[in-house]
């Protein structure tokens, strides 16, 4: 196993930045400034932070405080560059798990705006939900075109 794994309380967190005011590099710089013993990897969606749990939590909190509603965090099982996930050792392509992360990252501006509204106590608008086409309606539609 990797040396970082020797310490059982070593964790990795994904920090996904979806902010107009904070760029992924700002988040990375914040981590570089911290004097704790953590390893970071800059990625297209944000940053991966690996290190002892307490240090990671502290640094991640500092980053999130830069723009609380537009920076999202989740824990990651594998450390950065792990052979089982890293595409460098898997012959290219996106790593497993990236597809869903990408889909969710595209939703983050919407979620961030909603969190802003929630903080400002903006009342909830009535929204109409798209309904799936009922079988009967589909049948009527088909028959009407015959």
């Amino acid at each position: 196993m990797r040396t970082a794994e020797d310490n059982e309380d070593v964790i990795t967190k994904l920090v996904v930045t979806s902010s107009d005011s904070v760029l992924p590099i700002d988040a990375a710089m914040k981590i570089y400034e911290s004097s704790t013993d953590i390893v970071i990897k800059e990625t297209c969606f944000g940053t991966m932070v690996t290190g002892p749990r307490e240090s990671v939590d502290k640094v991640v909190k500092e980053i999130v405080d830069l723009d609380r509603n537009h920076i999202f965090v989740k824990e990651r099982g594998f450390p950065p560059g792990d052979e089982r996930r890293c595409r460098a050792s898997r012959g290219g392509g996106s790593r497993p798990g990236f597809y869903f992360l990408k889909e969710e990252a595209m939703m983050l501006p919407m979620i961030g705006n909603a969190l802003d509204k929630y903080d400002r106590n903006v009342p909830l608008k009535e929204t109409e939900h798209k309904k799936k086409l009922e079988v009967k309606e589909l049948q009527d539609l088909i028959e009407s075109t015959l």
């Binding site: 989740k74 824990e75 497993p96 969710e104 919407m110 979620i111």
Partner: protein, 153 residues
């Protein structure tokens, strides 16, 4: 602080929202971390051992594919541990470790069968839906007890 099981079980948005509103998300990532940092489970590209499908027998019958049982050996204990649940349907993608549709069905079924507070909604597509999505999750999480004593079971 309640333990909230989320579905999709590796969701960034749900994991973040649960933590943001002061609870503990029960997500796949932490369990995978436990698995892969255990000495003896170090055989890339696999991150489970032959034992897992046996443990999964608690949740799925023996004729169910080993992949479902292997996944359930990780997901099942999380469901048992949960104090509340959030299920989000219409997931845009279900790739990676979420790729098994039958495991997903079984996961949702077992969460619904637990007698715990449960919120079910769909992934948003528009801004208005996004607002409703966040508001409903926030209100649900705020309605959960701040300090859950023992598990409800």
């Amino acid at each position: 602080m309640a333990k909230v099981i989320i579905y999709p079980i590796n969701s960034l948005i749900l994991s973040d929202l649960v933590q943001r509103f002061g609870h503990t998300p029960l997500a796949m990532m932490e369990k995978i971390k436990e698995k892969i940092s255990t000495v003896g489970v170090d055989s890339p590209p696999l991150n489970i051992t032959a034992e897992e499908p046996k443990h999964g027998l608690k949740y799925a019958a023996v004729e169910v594919p080993a992949g479902v049982r292997g996944r359930m050996s990780i997901v099942g204990p999380m469901i048992e541990e949960a104090d509340a649940g959030i299920i989000v349907g219409e997931s845009p993608t279900a790739f990676g470790c979420m790729g098994c549709a039958r495991t997903n069905e079984l996961t949702k079924y077992l969460i619904r069968n637990r007698d715990i507070p449960l919120l079910e909604l769909d992934f948003p597509e528009t801004d208005d839906e996004g607002q409703e999505f966040v508001y409903r999750i926030a209100e649900f999480l705020k309605s959960l007890p701040e300090a859950e004593g023992e598990a409800t079971e």
